[in-house]
Subunit: 143 residues, 6 copies
Amino acid sequence: MARKIVYATRRERFNAAHKLWNNAWDEEKNLSTFGKCSNPNWHGHNFDLFVTIKGEPHPDTGYCMDLKALRDIVSKYVTDKVDHRNLNLDVDFMSGIMPSCENFAIAIWEQLEAPIQASGCDLHSIKLYETENNIVEYFGPVQ
Amino acid sequence: MARKIVYATRRERFNAAHKLWNNAWDEEKNLSTFGKCSNPNWHGHNFDLFVTIKGEPHPDTGYCMDLKALRDIVSKYVTDKVDHRNLNLDVDFMSGIMPSCENFAIAIWEQLEAPIQASGCDLHSIKLYETENNIVEYFGPVQ
Amino acid sequence: MARKIVYATRRERFNAAHKLWNNAWDEEKNLSTFGKCSNPNWHGHNFDLFVTIKGEPHPDTGYCMDLKALRDIVSKYVTDKVDHRNLNLDVDFMSGIMPSCENFAIAIWEQLEAPIQASGCDLHSIKLYETENNIVEYFGPVQ
Amino acid sequence: MARKIVYATRRERFNAAHKLWNNAWDEEKNLSTFGKCSNPNWHGHNFDLFVTIKGEPHPDTGYCMDLKALRDIVSKYVTDKVDHRNLNLDVDFMSGIMPSCENFAIAIWEQLEAPIQASGCDLHSIKLYETENNIVEYFGPVQ
Amino acid sequence: MARKIVYATRRERFNAAHKLWNNAWDEEKNLSTFGKCSNPNWHGHNFDLFVTIKGEPHPDTGYCMDLKALRDIVSKYVTDKVDHRNLNLDVDFMSGIMPSCENFAIAIWEQLEAPIQASGCDLHSIKLYETENNIVEYFGPVQ
Amino acid sequence: MARKIVYATRRERFNAAHKLWNNAWDEEKNLSTFGKCSNPNWHGHNFDLFVTIKGEPHPDTGYCMDLKALRDIVSKYVTDKVDHRNLNLDVDFMSGIMPSCENFAIAIWEQLEAPIQASGCDLHSIKLYETENNIVEYFGPVQ
């Protein structure tokens, strides 16, 4: 029988500092590779994070997942750890990871996949706006 | 031979009242489940609806489907029925359905699939913004 | 000596139901005046509220007023009372007032003026988006 | 082993004139088909173009592709050719093509696919907003 | 006695072609002054127009002015004349006027002032977005 | 004779790091006053800056001021100095100034007033979005 799978998305926002800097490289190579994104004293962004889960609406509630519960999971595992923080220095789950928007989206996926699954839903995608012009999206690992 | 399938989207907007309330439950269970969304005297939203169809552009017009024709179908089968209405009380195609955003998107799909098909196109997805933070998307039933 | 007055704005959002209905009129006159805004079973909106205060930045903090404190005042006197509510039925400070966007903005001003003044700042304006197309702004009473 | 494919998007904007007009038809048929979009003296739009590439983040940079490099490719092959131009008259890669939004998105894909591939990445999609209400997306030819 | 003046705004949108070109100048001077805005074959924009009126809410309706009536005035005197048109060639009230955004806003004011006054309200301002980055506002002539 | 004064606005964007920290206070007082805005390792924002000038459109061009010239002034005196920088450490014109949004708007005014005046126009206002919820505006010193 056909299943009615709905994709539900919660947007959260946070403001963080970071820089792109490869410690294996000297300053010149960092600057020529990353340009102003490697400013030694950091820069920052208002990040817009869209977390999408998928599932069938429950007959009692019409919810795939209560988006307030999703918001609480995103707060606990991501937003509370990164909001008004430095992604290079302050965030446990970014330790040792170059904080490009791409790597950051992957790391957010890895933070959220298990707790969302534990709540009975499936994580579908992480979409992250670094600016209105630069956006990344990640759907989990593929074979 | 390869086909050039384009996905074309029309946005429509409407303003409606609703509440989340399960008649099989008492007030306490409704409140503990749905929180302020179960306010007995209703609340409401500006809904943003994105209807996406897919097809090959016609050689004469460059259109998959005239988006003015799509707008007219969406108006007739959805917007005219829900704009400035109460989703629980006033809308024939929501009768007996918990008006969560998820169920509402499914019901909109079921309203639009046949008339869009009758116009020679395929409905691809229904995306519905309840707020800037809460969004659902539905791509039709899957096996 | 010249003073450096800055205008600082906090945006808050809420979702409410309402209808435009004049009890002194019969249904026909209500419908002909207010159109679909008078739907008996209500409709609703995502309201965007911009509250602007003015003052000189404090030398210790650089703040005219801590916008978190402003947010708390707006929550206590407005948002907590109107979010997920019915403006005609559920809101003490709208009792007996036709809930047009214009009257609503005036009423919000009257709710906020005293507590903002008590915090040492001046309220400058209330701007209220009912939809992306319909917006009102109020600057307080004038002689 | 599982691969971590990220989709990265660059938004670019441009302003162009066009009209929808089929030279094989007389004026009456053009007007009845395209309505005001066939105004003989043109009309125009602010187009928002979202170009999405996909790939695995490079271990040295965390980038799938430097989005500044993507911006430069989009500028060279698309934006510089269409910004403040007439799509019917001034644009080499639209010559002989009805400038519907659908055909325009396909033509942009065909402009960008090779240079993006030459830079070592894969083009995933072209998304084009003609207005806030009319949007098309193209993912390349399918079998 | 203090009066409660509210400012009410209606947003309308339209898409038009134009170019900046001074007939008293040769092509070289036009190009050096206006750059790509002087492209001989035109370019175009999605214009966002915000028309603001002011007045006291009427005790019967809570309206300064029915925004549907304002929308109809704006349609009749502005939008219907400029939407999907060429500002240099097709618009009676722009005849002989350099269609810069500044002059266009003034001309829109002059179109709307009398009919809005005839409806018993005062026009307060015309705000016009040519792009998300270029915006003009006009409040009428000053002494 | 009446003058037709138009207000023209240019939006520019930049991304910067900062923290709110008063060196005259200990860490506890900084934290209790500024909360997470005082995170020692910084945080950051995408700032949206709207610079508004006023003047009469020139009869030859229809411009109050060429907005490309305004953009160049804003770039030279503000954006180039703050984009991808640390407002506390890297910006000459913010040296010794608590980088609250209020003080930052005042400092930007003071950077721009003279060069805009030198170009023959008057600066009217600086509007600065720190987030979509927190906004300040400054109109220059008043008596």
